[in-house]
């Protein structure tokens, strides 16, 4: 099933995968942080901060992520 942004526009498959990537990262940081080594946690946060820009640019309205530490 194709993914849509908040404006109702369909995302291409490649863009949809970037969105999934971001959501996976956010999910890991939200629920599995204690399992991560420092290098895993901090690099995941940095990746999340970068992918947040993609989410924002795709009009996925990612909200704020301060509660995740980014």
């Amino acid at each position: 099933m194709t993914m849509k942004n908040v404006a109702g526009e369909e995302l291409s498959e490649a863009r949809g995968k970037l969105v999934e990537c971001y959501r996976t990262l956010a999910h890991v940081l939200m629920g599995h942080r204690d399992e991560l080594a420092p290098f895993e946690e901090r690099n995941a946060l940095k990746a999340l901060a970068a992918l947040w820009q993609v989410m924002n640019g795709l009009d996925m309205d990612p909200g704020q992520v301060y509660d995740l530490g980014a």
């Binding site: 901060a49 947040w52 820009q53 640019g57 309205d61 704020q64 301060y66 980014a70």
Partner: protein, 453 residues
């Protein structure tokens, strides 16, 4: 994607109606965030009857009370050191920066999280990419890398783009010029004043910058990047295209940039900001083509929500179609035209430093200048322009008289004394130039008269 002229093609070419809808959506999110996280903002919003769910159109923005620098400073005094407009804890910040302090006032202090810092670089990416900077470029950043935010965001944007990024901090001007040439930099970033200073140094070193690989200059920090005569001079000295940008510490990054079409103005990054232009006296919105004060709302930095911040910058907004680049982002014709408080009233005539610079830069022989205001005989305002003309063969007398005539002609026949001073006598600047020296003891018209301490 290197062949795309746009950093975010969909947003930068979005039809106006869609862009308006995007802004309304983001405004609603911002109001909700500020209301929830910042008691100081919540009070202002609630007092004005504004909640996220009452925002339906872009016109609802007008219901939000504007915020001033004074409000910001009061907040810092009330809750030092970062103030009352902070939406997250300091433990989440990874950067701390300050305003440059060129006005002599207490600086504004800001914090950024990891995500905000990425966003700050993202805004610079719009400008760099839009002006033609690509991953293959070698970028020299002529900047002091201090707590002043300056080109920090640009540096990280260059890394994001994949450019070879040369940090030019803690160097003399000679070292910078030599490194630009030795490393084959293709892009140089500095203030307009410092671009001219480096060109001057290169001439003294016998280096011809126009034949160097430098193809583009990214200018920021002063309005001069959009003054045609100054820009022309910079482009001639460097043999490169110069693109203007402007930002502010309060936002953390740039909000406008000049695209590769060089339309004589700067595009507003409208998918991340709402830029209003208001009459500074009546606070009413002014139309396209009319000068007014910039009031900015930023959707970027969540740490410090910026809702209708009065910038004191003077601008003239023109429609996107003014530029042929295909962007639907409106522009500020001539970039930032000056500051509301820049204007000097001299014997009843308004004098804007930018307008003086535009005339001075028509004379290539003039290396540096200063506008000096003083009180004569304890009661009369006088204005003089001090100029350096280093070439001993230049016809100094002709330059002085021509410049004086042109200045008077542009200022209702106001008399300017134009004087030549020794080469090297005037101050040089790496960051924001301060070329106005106001030593008047009695200033302005009757209504404004005050005696300096």
């Amino acid at each position: 994607m290197d062949d795309s002229p746009y950093w975010n093609p969909r947003h930068e070419t979005m039809p106006r109606a869609d862009l308006d809808a995007l802004q309304v959506r983001k405004l609603r999110n911002l109001v909700e965030w500020a209301d929830m996280q910042v008691p100081w903002q919540a009070k202002r919003l609630r007092d004005a009857g504004v909640t996220a769910d009452t925002i339906a159109t872009i016109d609802d923005l007008q219901r939000i009370p504007p915020m001033t620098r004074e409000d910001w400073m009061e907040g810092q005094l009330e809750d030092p050191p970062f103030g009352t407009n902070v939406a997250a804890g300091k433990d989440l910040a990874i950067r701390y920066h300050l305003t440059s302090g060129t006005t002599g006032r207490t600086p504004i202090r800001v914090l950024d999280s990891m995500k905000d810092w990425e966003w700050i670089a993202e805004m610079w990416c719009y400008g760099l990419w839009g002006f033609g900077v690509r991953p293959s470029d070698t970028v020299f950043v002529a900047f002091g890398y201090s707590t002043f935010i300056g080109f920090w965001g640009l540096h990280y944007a260059c890394e994001k783009l994949g450019c070879l990024t040369l940090p030019g901090g803690a160097m003399t001007t000679e070292q910078r010029v030599r490194q630009i040439v030795e490393m084959g930099a293709t892009v140089v970033c500095s203030t307009p004043t410092y671009a001219l200073r480096m060109a001057q140094e290169a001439r003294q070193l016998g280096i011809d910058l126009a034949s160097s690989p430098v193809e583009r200059l990214i200018l920021s920090g002063e309005p001069a990047g959009s003054i045609p005569a100054t820009k022309k001079l910079i482009q001639e000295e460097w043999g490169a295209k110069a693109g203007d940008t402007a930002g502010m510490t309060e936002l953390g990054t740039i909000m406008i940039f000049e695209c590769a079409s060089q339309p004589g103005g700067t595009h507003i990054i409208e998918d991340h900001y709402i830029e209003e232009v208001l009459d500074p006296i009546t606070d009413r919105p002014v139309g396209y083509g009319e000068m007014g004060e910039r009031v900015v709302t930023s959707f970027g930095r969540g740490f410090i929500p910026v809702l209708r911040y009065r910038t004191r910058d003077l601008v003239v907004k023109v429609p996107a179609a003014t530029c042929g680049c295909g962007r639907t982002f409106d522009l500020y014709d001539g970039g930032i035209r000056g500051r509301v408080d820049d204007m000097k009233l001299v014997r009843g005539t308004n004098v804007y430093p930018r307008a003086v610079e535009a005339l001075v830069r028509e004379f290539k022989e003039i290396d540096e200048f200063q506008i000096h205001l003083y009180t004569a005989e304890g009661r009369r305002d006088e204005i003089e322009v001090l100029v350096e003309i280093p070439d001993p063969d230049a016809d100094g007398d002709r330059i002085l008289s021509d410049l004086a005539r042109e200045l008077a002609g542009a200022h209702e026949a106001l008399r300017f004394d134009v004087r030549r001073v020794e080469a090297g006598a005037l101050p040089r600047f790496e960051l924001k130039a301060k070329r106005v020296l106001d030593e008047r003891t009695v200033i302005g018209s009757d209504g404004e008269r005050r005696v300096q301490a």
